[in-house]
Amino acid sequence: MIGAPRSPVRGLAALRRIAFPPPARERCELCATDIGDIHEHLVDPEERRLLCACTACAILFDHSAARRFRRVPRDIRRLAGLRIDDALWNSLGIPIGLVFFFRSSVSNTVVAVYPSPGGPAEVAVEQDLWSELAALDPALGALTDDVEALLVNRIRGARSYFLVPIDQCYKLNGVIRSHWSGFTGGDKLWEEMHQFFEALQQRALPERSHADA
């Protein structure tokens, strides 16, 4: 069922919206049903756009023949057993220790996205290098196209690796965009980053040891 659309705000109410905005209501971007703060996400791989969705739409659109949208999973896992040595890392040529990798069904390559003063920068990862990386943990070879990512934090001596739903990467981009200052990001950003990874750690499923994997 298609709901009636919201009416545009008219007259002085438009002015009121600016000064005293009403609290936002989360709604499904496909069918306009009200959804809570915790809801499903769909990604549009072509447009690289994230949509908030109700569960029904998330399932429906993920299984539709055209599959324009893919349902974003929820699980976060810390890859505690993963070790990436500096030589392999440096060969990737990524100038910063904060990056996420995902396999794009559109370009059919693994893409690395990292923050830069000009906004998120992205490079395609050479297949050989990715194979070398993926050989380190079976989870990396099994990344679901477009919706799952390897999130790497090697900033200021950290070495943490997470398997995350792609919406977490969008969220991280948002944090970076709101707090980046100067040429290197600034202290405020690194404090926010720290909090982001703490929250990620808390939401992560219980760790599996490397031997179980």
Partner: protein
């Protein structure tokens, strides 16, 4: 405040929101917010003072057309959400009644207001929609969102109904 002033403000707000440069847009919005907050605080004080000197006068102020709009705009109207809403609905019902149409409130809360429009003639929708929107937003601009059922938007009615093509033809 003439309808011209109102629509001019609406238009300018849209223009400010559409400023491409995020810095310039943010500054403009902050300026509007700051000025509105200043006026809000001042009007609130003023109402308090006059009400102390002349009890009951705020009712008369709220009944004045211009002052009512300004009070509603600043969230300071003496009548509450429901009173203002039912007054607007009454007025709309009278308006549509004489035109063979009707409106019905399906959901009424500060978060969302859902109204169903039933009209006899097809094609009368677009004007009716604007009439409802203007009346509701004028009375209760704080409503989270307004949803009008029973009138297709221009976007939805992208096709031209056959009936409307034939309407102009001589029988």
């Amino acid at each position: 405040m003439t309808p011209d002033t109102t629509s001019k403000i609406e238009e300018l707000v849209q223009q400010v929101q559409a400023i491409a440069d995020p810095g310039a847009r943010e500054v403009s919005l902050e300026l509007v917010k700051a000025v509105m907050s200043l006026h809000q605080a001042a009007i609130e004080r003023m109402l308090k003072i006059v009400e102390e000197k002349a009890p009951g006068i705020t009712g008369a102020i709220g009944a004045d057309d211009l002052l009512s709009r300004v009070l509603v705009l600043h969230g300071l109207h003496p009548d509450g959400f429901e009173t203002r809403l039912s007054r607007a609905i009454d007025r709309l019902q009278r308006h549509f009644d004489s035109r063979g149409a009707a409106i019905e409130v399906l959901e009424a809360g500060p978060d969302a207001l859902r109204i169903r429009f039933t009209g006899k003639r097809s094609g009368a929708g677009a004007t009716a929609r604007v009439t409802i929107e203007n009346a509701i937003y004028e009375a209760v601009p704080e409503v989270g969102e307004l949803i009008i059922e029973g009138i297709p938007t221009e976007h939805e009615a992208g096709f031209v109904p056959l009936a409307s093509l034939m309407a102009g033809e001589p029988a």
